[in-house]
């Protein structure tokens, strides 16, 4: 997603991991961990000109 924002023209793209995010069901949580699934907070700006 970070790369998509930059390639669309956004600037000052920032990403931080959301602490505490997890899936509730253990089976989904295990699968998500194996794929490196994380929640992130992304911010970006559209250039003024």
């Amino acid at each position: 997603m970070f790369g998509l924002l930059e390639s669309a023209g956004f600037t000052r793209v920032r990403s931080t991991i959301v602490p505490g995010f997890a899936f509730r069901k253990e089976s989904t949580r295990d699968a998500a961990e194996s794929y490196g699934v994380k929640a992130v907070l992304l911010t970006a700006e559209k250039p003024a000109t």
């Binding site: 997603m1 998509l4 924002l5 390639s7 669309a8 023209g9 956004f10 920032r14 959301v18 505490g20 995010f21 997890a22 899936f23 509730r24 069901k25 989904t28 699968a31 998500a32 794929y35 490196g36 699934v37 994380k38 929640a39 992130v40 907070l41 992304l42 911010t43 970006a44 700006e45 559209k46 250039p47 003024a48 000109t49």
Partner: protein
């Protein structure tokens, strides 16, 4: 679009339709039966986990809080100012829209966009109950029903990952933002390519 990309898109179209239906069904289920069991945490428990202020959750309509199904807190970095126009992409039952409306005040405006018209009406009802301005448009995130350069800020919470066409969604966000506008979104990313069995499972994709 190249021939290969066109063939790929045509092959994925039926699956995309099924997933769209499953996404609508699942999030409507959260709104109508918030005491149900889902793959993800939801409601007040999830909102508190992500640092939503307790005062917000006490003040917001209980139905909006109970149906919250986000994956983080986009308000932490949104820096909303009075008078700004905000797009809440995938506004669901409306909790994030209501919190945004408190911040932009009566001179600002919050516009929700949601795939599910039932959710749109629910979000508007929750906003009206709280006495804030929020209009929700039924629409797809790949084709946002707003003019070019019409919003100051985009917020979104756990929605873009549900799209098969994320590049198109991001282009749409760029289009609807005014020059100098900004976005603050929380979403799910994965470090590895998901297996085809997950991609082909509408329930897993929707969750």
């Amino acid at each position: 679009m190249t021939d290969l990309a066109r063939v790929h898109a045509e092959e994925q179209a039926p699956l995309e339709g099924v997933i769209k239906g499953e996404v609508m069904r699942m999030y409507q289920e959260v709104a109508e039966h918030p005491d149900g069991e889902f793959h993800f945490y939801h409601g007040r428990q999830a909102a508190e986990m992500f640092g939503y202020e307790r005062a917000w959750l006490d003040r917001a309509p209980p139905g909006a809080v109970a149906s919250f199904a986000g994956v983080g807190n986009p308000h932490l970095r949104s820096r909303l100012q009075p008078g700004e126009v905000v797009l809440d992409l995938g506004s669901g039952a409306g909790l994030d829209s209501i919190i945004a409306a408190w911040q932009v005040g009566p001179t600002g405006r919050v516009i929700g966009v949601d795939l599910n018209p039932t959710m749109c009406r629910k979000a508007e009802a929750h906003a009206a109950a709280e006495g804030v301005r929020m209009a929700c448009h039924e629409g797809r995130m790949e084709d946002i029903p707003l003019p070019d350069a019409s919003v100051d800020v985009v917020i979104s919470n756990g929605v873009i990952n549900l799209s098969f066409r994320k590049r198109t969604v991001i282009r749409e966000l760029f289009r609807v933002l005014k020059p100098g506008g900004r976005l603050s979104i929380t979403d799910i990313v994965s470090a590895k390519q998901l297996s085809q069995s997950i991609v082909n499972d509408p329930k897993l994709w929707a969750s």
